[in-house]
């Protein structure tokens, strides 16, 4: 057994959560797997180690994707927290409505909505990008998709944030979020078909349950996972689009001049600033990675953002370059659990980038305001001080 390489940092310290990249670089240079005694955790830091672990559920189980026993207990039986072969079935049910082929009909509506919203903002002279775009847009799309109406729609932001926050260690943020995540869980356990708009995908999931195509009681859980996994992450990525285009005007100009760069630009936004800071696994056996042994039973933390900036994999990884097209970035995970909602996330984000490229000439932004949060790394406030419409 080799000696573990350690660091005495706390991966959930406020300053690291707000700006994790210097810490990611330090840890990555130490080793591909670094023991953090303060967090009772082994973090994976390098691209290859992360991808290999995500592709190897036999050695890295999803039994502890969260970092406290309460949340892992609550997630038992969900797709996110299960391993093959059980996972394979749950995933098929979960992803049925999210595959690119299932979403094909939505593209036109999503594009139209993004264009209308961005056109209004572009004409307004200045705006706050997080509330009015990064949050407003995905909440509207996901609410329509699932068929939420009324007070549920108003709760989506709080519920989505809390569902991610409670995956953290038992710190104050996690404790404060448990009751809110509980509201979401409670609502999803009691929701019925009639609560959801006719014709929505959410209603369709209940119809499938009624027809016996999916196990009884699973419809509410599926909707829970869409909300938990699909709201806060997408919000982060859209806020990041505006901030990175604001900071790198020459890159935005490239996209404006070459709209075919839209998918590559989104992949680069995801690579450059990963929406998910850390995600858990459990080592099922002693696993050796580049000379470091992770002992059986250890909690593992995957640092997607550290892998995305690994110079062993990407040239000039700290440069934001919309022509890079890093389709193999790690921000959606990889393998059996690779993000089931990536088709939807791309539809939304591509629509926003296309609309920005079409409607906006220049963006002048203020400093982004960030607040520490356990799992999602997103911008809290971003003032677009001046926007010049096309």
């Amino acid at each position: 057994m080799t000696a573990p390489i350690q660091s005495d940092i706390d991966i959930w310290a406020d300053d690291i959560l707000v700006d994790p990249y210097p810490t990611y670089a330090e840890l990555r240079e130490q080793a591909a797997a670094v023991h953090l005694p303060k967090n009772d955790l082994y973090v994976l830091t390098r691209y290859d180690a992360i991808r290999d672990a995500l592709g190897d559920p036999e050695s890295f189980s999803s039994a502890s994707i969260g970092f406290n026993p309460m949340v892992n207990g609550a997630l038992q039986g969900t797709s996110l927290a299960s391993d093959p072969p059980v996972h394979t079935q749950l995933r098929a049910v979960l992803s049925q409505n999210l595959t690119p082929r299932a979403l094909r009909g939505l593209k036109v509506v999503i594009d139209e909505k993004a264009d209308k919203l961005v056109a209004e903002l572009a004409d307004s002279g200045s705006f706050e990008a997080i509330d009015s775009l990064a949050r407003a847009f995905p909440i509207e799309i996901v609410a329509d998709l699932i068929g939420f109406q009324g007070h549920v729609k108003d709760n989506m932001l709080r519920w989505g944030q809390a569902a991610m926050q409670v995956l953290g260690p038992l710190n104050q943020r996690t404790q404060e979020s448990f009751p809110i995540a509980g509201e979401l869980y409670g609502w999803c356990s009691s929701v019925t078909a009639e609560d959801l708009a006719p014709g929505s995908i959410g209603r369709g999931i209940f119809d499938a349950e009624a027809r016996g195509e999916i196990p009884e009681g699973s419809a509410g859980h599926i909707i829970h996972q869409y909300l938990g996994a699909g709201v806060d992450t997408t919000i982060a990525s859209i806020g990041n689009i505006v901030a990175l285009f604001g900071r790198h005007a020459e890159q935005f100009d490239l996209v404006r001049a070459n709209p075919e760069l839209v998918p590559a630009a989104f992949a680069e936004v995801l690579r450059y600033w990963a929406p998910v800071h850390i995600w858990g696994r459990k080592a099922t056996r002693d696993v050796e990675i580049d000379g470091v042994t992770i002992p059986a039973g250890a909690q593992v933390g995957i640092l997607f953002g550290a892998g995305n900036r690994d110079p062993r994999h990407y040239e000039n990884p700290d440069t934001f370059d919309v022509t890079r097209n890093p389709v193999d970035h790690l921000s959606f995970g990889y393998g059996p659990h690779g993000c089931a909602g990536q088709g939807l996330a791309k539809l939304e984000a591509h629509a926003v980038i296309e609309a920005l490229a079409r409607r906006v000439q220049t963006l002048t932004i203020g400093d982004e305001v960030r607040e520490p949060s356990n799992i999602t790394r997103s911008i809290e406030k971003l003032q677009v001080e001046k926007v010049v419409a096309v």
């Binding site: 592709g55 394979t88 098929a92 992803s95 999210l98 595959t99 690119p100 082929r101 094909r104 389709v327 193999d328 959606f332 990889y334 393998g335 059996p336 690779g338 993000c339 089931a340 990536q342 088709g343």
Partner: protein
Amino acid sequence: MKIELDRPRCEGHGLCEEAAPQLMHLDDDGELVIDVPDVDGAELDAAKAAVRICPVAALRLAAA
């Protein structure tokens, strides 16, 4: 080598087609069709790229 698709796992993300359009395509229903399953030489490289890029690891290469 032979390209093998784990059909239930494939969700039609289509990244494999972008990597190797000469070997596979999504049909009108969004189902992946492997046009050239047996590959070697330059086609093998393209197949490897497609296998690598599938975000849910639904493709693999097996001995022919």
